[in-house]
Symmetry: C2
Subunit: 213 residues, 2 copies
């Protein structure tokens, strides 16, 4: 069985923006991202849910699928944290506290390697290299399962550019940011290489489902 | 975590019919069911897929979810086979050959018990009793996971009647049968107890997603 590279539950605004330009510790997305993730937070299967309940309609199929047959994640350094350049603070171990929601090896792309560490059942590795080489490492660590491409925008665009993405789920929110890190001007840019289904959800987001032609 | 009872990927016609009146060995559904399942067969995750390929759009989320966190299935005797009354032919071991697509214990509801048997990683048990008692057995066998209610129509209606169903996914096909075993006159019959989302798929089926209020 081929090990796919899958983008899962990636959120962008209606103008294609996934994050702001000015990330900080206080603002992991560099913009007011609440509205972009409200659909996911409302579902029963949202990994960070602390209370019981939550919806089990269409959106829940997407949050439920987040970890399904995923054996490793690749993420950009800016998804991991707000520091830039050489590591100043090795105490920083991600935004997610002692129980990160990944439960697999995670490969953080950076030009500034640092030692791997483990929190609960998630191990973070810091790797330098081109997308193909990093995907190869992630596949080897994934135990035969698929690899999730966790974002952010810059990393997804790099892997799209290298034609390494097999499936991509992007939830487009009915909010407009105007400026920021833009995944696309229009999803149609990808139609030369991908099938696309556009599925409006009762929650207001529009799920965009791409898979390789 | 509560062990849910879930109906997954159950197919009915636009007039609510899931099977014909006259099931036989040649006709497991007692009607021409091809059109009712074409949407599922076209997906990459369809358990019976023999060739690579298949779509990875909306419909694939449903076939992909078929086994997700499922630890046991309950099915009616008529889903298991075409015999009625006392077992004439214990050689009959279901429609599915040596590799049934369940991969868990399966509880077949029947007034005519017979010995359990195992095919590959699926074990079939034959159990008599009311829905509540059978669900209890299935939950105990499910290793903490959810239980799938596999159908057919009669069994789903019995469990709905007993108010034991937690979530239900019904794929409504754009085909009309006129007569047969009817799940509902209208899905609205369930709105007193369930939330409902109705999600049209590009394939032509309309996914109906119910979850308990």
């Amino acid at each position: 069985m081929k090990q796919l590279l899958r983008v899962q539950n990636f959120g962008v605004s209606s103008d294609g923006i996934g994050a702001g330009e000015s990330q900080s510790f206080e603002s992991p997305f560099g913009l007011d991202h609440g509205e972009m993730f409200a659909w996911a937070g409302a579902t029963a299967s949202w990994p960070n849910r602390t209370d019981p309940g939550g919806s089990r309609g269409l959106d829940d199929y997407f949050t439920r699928d987040f970890a399904h047959n995923i054996g490793a994640e690749i993420m950009g350094r800016n998804k991991f944290g707000p520091q830039r350049g050489p590591w100043q603070d090795l105490e920083w171990r991600g935004w997610w506290g002692d129980e990160p929601p990944f439960h697999t090896p995670v490969f953080v792309m950076t030009h500034h390697p640092r030692p791997s560490f483990t929190l609960s059942d998630t191990t973070f590795h810091f790797v330098d290299g081109d997308p193909g080489a990093i995907l190869e490492q992630a596949r080897a660590a994934a135990g035969g399962k698929d690899v999730r491409l966790g974002g952010g925008v810059t990393v997804i665009k790099e892997f799209l550019e290298a034609d390494l993405v097999d499936t991509m789920h992007v939830a487009v929110s009915p909010v407009k940011f105007g400026s920021g890190l833009r995944l696309w001007e229009s999803p149609d840019e990808l139609l030369d290489r991908f099938h696309l289904e556009v599925v409006p959800s009762p929650s207001g987001v529009t799920h965009h489902l791409f898979w390789r032609k």
